[in-house]
């Protein structure tokens, strides 16, 4: 074999040098020309809003590129921590609140406190302190205290979707006077041959909202400390009369056939589409479905009717998944750009986009008359503003411990199949919660 000739050797060396230079010039998170953003707005209506928000931000900030990645909530819960740890994650991301996600990321210093940005940009004037508290973690690991690590752009409440046309056909008058009238209407719908409540438990997570909504319906807003303590890991017990009664009611409804036939084998996405297609009288779910339901003028949104003795109850809800800045936004320029981006997301312009597309922005609009509010969204705004005014916005129960979501999903399926009594069910929740409290005490 003849030795390689001079020009070929030079070419090879040149190529190697070029590759090395390219590697050295590989863009990384230290360059502030753009942001990598992860969000959970995967359904078409909300994804369109995020695309428009990003487009407007880039137009306002020439030279800045937003690299957007959309993941579903289960997917982001799965991948975010490891992605940030490996260095390949986002600069700005949505982070699910609660011990299992935001709590863990705070402990690992993977997300940065936003208190300075909140003060600089005045975000605390755009959302209530109750909503901000859900993103607070102290240095000792206490939830609901200390520095703020996230801020949410949308507010959420769980309530009752009512199909007025189907209810009228079954002889049910609206508005419903109270919870007893609501239960009577379920019987009326069933006699009429209409599915009373659209429901699905195949995916596991959806039934927890009905359980939590009915449980918190029995808890007066004035006594909210009990629920706050359960969620913020300050003590308490899930073996409460309210929890047992909620579980009993759900099991009773399943037995009486008030829930969608075959609900245990139906997925939640299918159930919401069936409801939008007039297949049931009611759906107990949250305002995140407004975008899907607004096309059907027969569907309305309201709170679950109150129970006797609790005129102002808690309303299950809170905020959507919070926006945070990760430790990957290393240098000051990137950090400042990330804060500017979140400020744009929290701005009136973005809020107007959300409201215009039928979603519930946390921030009240500066000029509400300038945006056409869909009737269904208008009803949800009434529910949310009342809850905010009365300090009645409750909590999502799966935030109570890292494993509570899993426990609720599995054991609600057993409860509704009659394989667990309501007391066994609440016992299981409490075992989960007390085990978590022990780990909190051990850590401190």
């Amino acid at each position: 074999m003849t030795p390689t000739s001079g020009p070929s050797r030079s070419a090879s060396l040149g190529a190697l040098l070029l590759c090395g230079a390219a590697l050295l010039m590989r863009p990384d998170h230290a360059v502030a020309a753009g942001l990598t953003v992860w969000d959970i707005y995967a359904d078409p209506p909300s994804s369109a809003v995020m695309d428009e928000i990003n487009k407007q931000f880039m137009a306002d900030n020439p030279g800045v590129t937003i690299q957007r990645t959309v993941r579903t909530l289960p997917d982001i819960k799965l991948t975010l921590k490891l992605a940030v740890q490996s260095g390949s994650g986002p600069d700005v991301t949505q982070v699910n609140q609660g011990a299992g996600d935001m709590g863990e990321m705070v402990r690992a210093h993977e997300i940065l406190p936003l208190d300075a940005d909140i003060a600089r940009y005045g975000w605390n004037s755009r959302v209530t302190d109750n909503e901000l508290r859900r993103n607070r973690w102290s240095d000792a690991g206490a939830f609901g205290e200390g520095r703020t690590y996230g801020i949410a752009v949308l507010s959420e409440a769980v309530g009752l979707y009512e199909n007025a046309a189907l209810l009228k056909a079954a002889g049910v008058s609206l508005p419903l006077k109270d919870f007893a009238a609501f239960e009577a209407s379920l019987a009326a719908l069933k006699s009429h041959g209409t599915t009373p409540i659209m429901f699905a438990s195949l995916d596991g997570y959806a039934p927890l909202h009905m359980f939590a909504a009915i449980m918190q319906l029995q808890m007066p807003a004035a006594g909210r400390k009990v629920m706050d303590d359960l969620i913020y890991g300050r003590g308490g017990s899930w073996k409460s009369p309210e929890a047992i009664k909620s579980a009993t009611i759900m099991q009773d409804w399943a037995r009486k056939g008030y829930l969608q036939r075959g609900f245990s084998g139906t997925g939640f996405d299918d159930a919401t589409q069936l409801y939008a297609a007039n297949k049931a009288g009611y759906l107990v779910s949250g305002t995140w479905l407004l975008g899907m339901m607004k096309a059907n003028p027969a569907i309305h949104f309201t709170t679950l009717p109150h129970m006797d003795g609790v005129p102002v109850p808690l309303v299950e809800g809170g905020t959507d998944v919070a926006w945070s800045i990760t430790e990957l936004a290393k240098d000051d320029a990137k950090r400042a750009l990330a804060a500017k981006y979140i400020d744009f997301i929290m701005s009136d312009r973005s809020a107007a986009l959300w409201v215009g597309h039928g979603f519930l922005a946390s921030k009240p609009l500066d000029h509400p008359d300038a945006v056409k509010v869909e009737p269904l969204l208008g009803e949800a705004i009434v529910v949310l503003r009342a809850a905010a005014t009365q300090n009645a916005l409750g909590h999502y129960p799966d935030w109570a411990s890292p494993t509570m979501g899993d426990t609720l999903a599995t054991d609600l399926q057993k409860l509704l199949a009659g394989r667990m009594t309501p007391i066994e069910f609440t016992d299981a929740l409490d075992v989960d919660y007390q085990a978590y409290l022990k780990t909190l005490k051990a850590a401190h």
Partner: protein, 289 residues
Amino acid sequence: MPRSERAAGLLYVLPGFGIFVLFIMGPILATVGLSLTEWNGVTRPLWVGLDNYARLARDARFLHALGNNALLLLFYTLFPIACGLGLSLGMQMVRGSERAVYRVLLFLPYIMPMAVIGVIWRWLYNPAFGPIDSLLTTLGGDAWGVPWLGDFDFALPAVGLVATWYYLGFCMVAFLSGIQRIDPNLFEAARLDGAGEVTMFRAITLPSLRPELRVVLLLTIISSVKVFDLIFVMTRGGPGDATLVANLYMYNTGFQLGRFGYAAAVALTATLIVLAMNLAIHRVMRDQA
């Protein structure tokens, strides 16, 4: 072989070996190390020795998951092999081009991604608009319309039957190729000796299919232990834990609950079970000299 040739041979093997170490041996060794720690995926791993394995031995949920894997053996192994064998014998009575069509149609599921199959069958099983329940309720009323994937008793068989449908074509094709290898003179001689179909099957066909049977057994048993995608897409292990399997338990423990050390112990235990079963099959079905 001269030393220089051995050295040259090693050089050729090196890239492949490097990939093997990087993507297979390395992760396996890392998993072994991880299984001896408690790690949440973000902070530093904490050494716990064999504590994870001790807890696993007492973990009722894990043992229940293994029990489900054992039940799935029926659907992943026994039924596809039985159906595959029957179909391959039946194919002998079908002529040329027709046989090719049946072979393709029955083998088609095997080339589809399992996750896609799971999504499609989830729709088919849907109690509200799926065709299976629509047909059953038409025939037998509401009582026949079972929410298969949500029923504590039927969910595992419902998922298992999808696996049977998936693997029977593969088993059939494997046995068909084995049958075609058998010398027809053996059957001729057996018939002349007065042997019936059952005797010929037992004495000639089945022993001749030993190599194919071993391959099919190995592959389907491994699949039944490492099942994940079908269960994840169709039921997520529910209702309750009715369809929970070892790999899904590992996934939930590691990625949902952030207990990566424990999840690694689950993964290694399942791997050892697969290895043990492999060894048993090889021993039992050793080729006779």
